[in-house]
């Protein structure tokens, strides 16, 4: 319902307040390696402030199973020593946590001003046309997800696309289709990487 005299409240569309609880998913526990990582990370914070490690703990879950389920949230809660609600509170707030399966390659196209001025809207269009999806969707083979994201902080190399944790800079709309083919062929090698970082590879 709307409290505004002029405008409706988009009743037909999904609204944040109607967000469903995360699906339970399968039983979850860290691999030995991730458990060790978590135990190391939590030492960075005072011993009575374990909750500070919650973002790191969730990244580990996501790394291990690709997305975050209700069961894994409960697992994180026991690790941290907080309630599952507190974990879900965090998961539902931050955009980099996925509560549904995503593709092997998540194409995060920056859509904010500097990138948009250099054609980011067209990049999204071309990528979606090539993959046959809408923004936010995953291809049926589970390979690619296209997501529009807000400013990635690489405005001088616009338009920029973040693929999982890697960057690809200056992706012109005309190259978008070829870029997808290139990823299929060469995987991570297809990304330019951050121009400041490349030297170190």
């Amino acid at each position: 319902m709307s409290f505004h005299p002029e405008m409706d409240y988009a009743p037909a569309r999904f609204h944040r307040s109607e967000r469903k609880l995360a699906e339970a998913g399968e039983a979850f526990a860290y691999s030995a390696e991730n458990q060790a990582r978590f135990n190391e990370n939590v030492q960075r914070y005072p011993s009575d402030q374990r909750q500070s490690a919650i973002l790191y703990a969730l990244y580990l879950v996501q790394k291990q199973q690709g997305y975050i389920t209700g069961t894994s949230m409960r697992f994180v809660a026991t690790q941290i020593g907080c309630t599952a609600a507190e974990v879900e509170d965090v998961v539902s707030y931050y955009t980099m946590f996925y509560t549904k399966p995503v593709g092997k390659y998540v194409l995060n196209v920056c859509r904010t001003l500097s990138c948009a001025l250099m054609g980011a809207e067209r990049v999204t269009e071309e990528l979606c046309a090539k993959l046959g999806v809408h923004p936010g969707q995953t291809t049926s083979d589970g390979e690619f997800t296209v997501i529009e994201v807000e400013c990635l902080g690489a405005c001088d190399r616009a338009p920029v696309v973040m693929v999982n944790d890697d960057w690809h800079e200056r992706l012109a709309p005309e190259q978008a289709g070829a870029f997808v083919d290139d990823i299929k062929e060469r995987g991570r090698a297809a990304f330019t990487g951050c121009h400041l970082h490349v030297e170190k590879k």
């Binding site: 988009a10 909750q51 500070s52 919650i54 973002l55 980099m96 859509r111 001003l113 400013c151």
Partner: protein, 438 residues
């Protein structure tokens, strides 16, 4: 006298991020060595005398911020370094962290010594994963060389620096929201006062400083406050990093003194080298997306905190977004309101709901479905957000609407009158965007 870069003079050289390079070429950790021979309070006095102003956006004097950190308390104190850099148009800290990470680590250590903290957390945005790798490697190097850890350089001073990775939230760049996020909660701002200097991280005294701010501290300690303040106009001393993006030939990060005018930054040979594709300049956002727009007539303003403010805008984070004549100002406001609507943390109603209304109104006008009274409604909704939220986000969200309405009201009217976008540039989406996906 030509300006000699201070923070970025070596960033384009190979291996500039290694400890070895930093010590050989940039007097690495000499600032820390010198600082440890001084009294903590003397360092604060030096930073105050230098006039160093926070580089994150607000331009608050750093020395004062450190002075306000509560001294007589049994609680531990903290430095929280704000490396969330998510203001659209800003990418300066990225260069510093990626190519000159030891300067930041040295700045953190000196800052900790000055305010009596033993731990600094560098809160880095989740999207900067590759930057985090660089910083963590640099932190390891610093520990091994004895510049971090216990009893640094035999002074008895202990200092730890840790990375903390965010997970995609613009609001985490606000200092109290950053603290909340560090505590493992949603990044939502707190009511101030108490300010972080009194009750910040874990309710302990905390100084929240931007990356570039902390990077300026070692040179101040080494070269003295007079040297620093002489680099720029009065009260705007020191080197400044400018991020230039948008329709220019050579976008990038440029270090300059704050005497440099906006026109020099856009057209200067050593800076952005003029407009792209020979098109005409239309407007510039001089300080990241949340500040008012300036026009061609304002371009001879020196890009300092005070001069830009006098010209009717803010230097903010020094993210200069340059736009040419192909940019429709209704589209611009819509693009930015999509950002603010998505990034609003949802704590204060005016910002959460108002941002959504503004975006929908702008979308309606941009699509040519707007009515004349929508323009006044935009103005009304935006004005009712300003000053009515806990943090500056609300003002930031209303600004793109108010500034475009003030300067380009005729474009809004033309959209309504003609029932279509009057400036559909070829670089924009072919189909109207399916908004509201988030």
């Amino acid at each position: 006298m030509a300006f000699e870069p201070v923070l970025t003079n070596h960033v384009r050289e190979p291996n500039s991020f290694t400890l070895d390079f930093y010590q050989k070429n940039a007097r690495g950790y000499e600032g820390l060595r010198k600082a440890l021979t001084l009294k903590p309070n003397d360092i604060i006095e030096q930073v105050k005398a230098s006039g160093l102003r926070g580089r994150g956006g607000a331009g608050f004097p750093t020395g004062l911020k450190w002075q306000f950190v509560l001294k007589d308390t049994p609680k531990p104190k903290y430095i929280a370094c704000n490396a969330d850099e998510s203001e659209p148009g800003t990418f300066k800290d990225h260069v510093l962290m990626e190519r000159n990470p030891h300067l930041l680590i040295e700045g953190c250590a000196i800052g900790c010594y000055a305010i009596g903290a033993k731990v600094a957390y560098i809160y880095i945005r989740g999207e900067f994963y590759h930057v985090q790798e660089t910083l963590e490697r640099a932190i390891d190097e610093a520990y091994r060389a004895g510049f971090l850890g216990k009893n640094i350089l035999g002074s008895g001073f202990d200092c730890d620096v840790y990375m903390h990775r965010g997970a995609g939230a613009y609001e985490a760049g606000e200092e109290t929201a950053l603290i909340e996020s560090l505590e493992g909660k949603r990044a939502q701002p707190r009511i101030k006062p108490p300010f972080p200097a009194v009750a910040g991280l874990y309710q302990c005294p905390t100084a929240v400083n931007n990356v570039e701010t902390l990077c300026n501290v070692p040179p101040i300690v080494l070269n003295g406050p007079e040297w620093f303040s002489a680099l720029g106009p009065e009260k705007n001393g020191g080197p400044k990093l400018y991020c230039i993006s948008g329709h220019v030939k050579r976008p990038g990060v440029y270090e300059a003194s704050m005497h440099t005018t906006l026109r020099e930054l856009i057209y200067g040979d050593q800076y952005a080298q003029g407009m792209l594709n020979g098109r005409k300049f239309k407007a510039i956002i001089p300080g990241g997306s949340s500040v008012p727009i300036l026009l061609d007539k304002d371009l001879d303003t020196p890009a300092s905190f005070d001069h830009i403010q006098k010209a009717g805008s803010l230097l903010g984070s020094a993210g200069l977004i340059v736009m040419d004549e192909s940019v429709c100002m209704v589209w611009l406001a819509m693009n930015l309101l999509h950002f603010y609507r998505h990034e609003s943390c949802g704590k204060c109603t005016p910002c959460r709901e108002g941002g959504d209304w503004l975006y929908k109104l702008l979308q309606r006008v941009e699509r040519g479905e707007g009515r004349t009274k929508d323009i006044d409604l935009l103005y009304g909704v935006a004005s009712n957000i300003v000053g009515k939220t806990l943090c500056a986000f609300g003002d930031a969200a209303a600004t793109p609407v108010l500034t475009t309405l003030n300067l380009f009201r005729h474009e809004f009217e033309a959209h309504v009158k003609e029932g279509r976008c009057t400036l559909p540039a070829e670089w924009r989406a072919k189909q109207p965007l399916t908004a509201g996906a988030h």
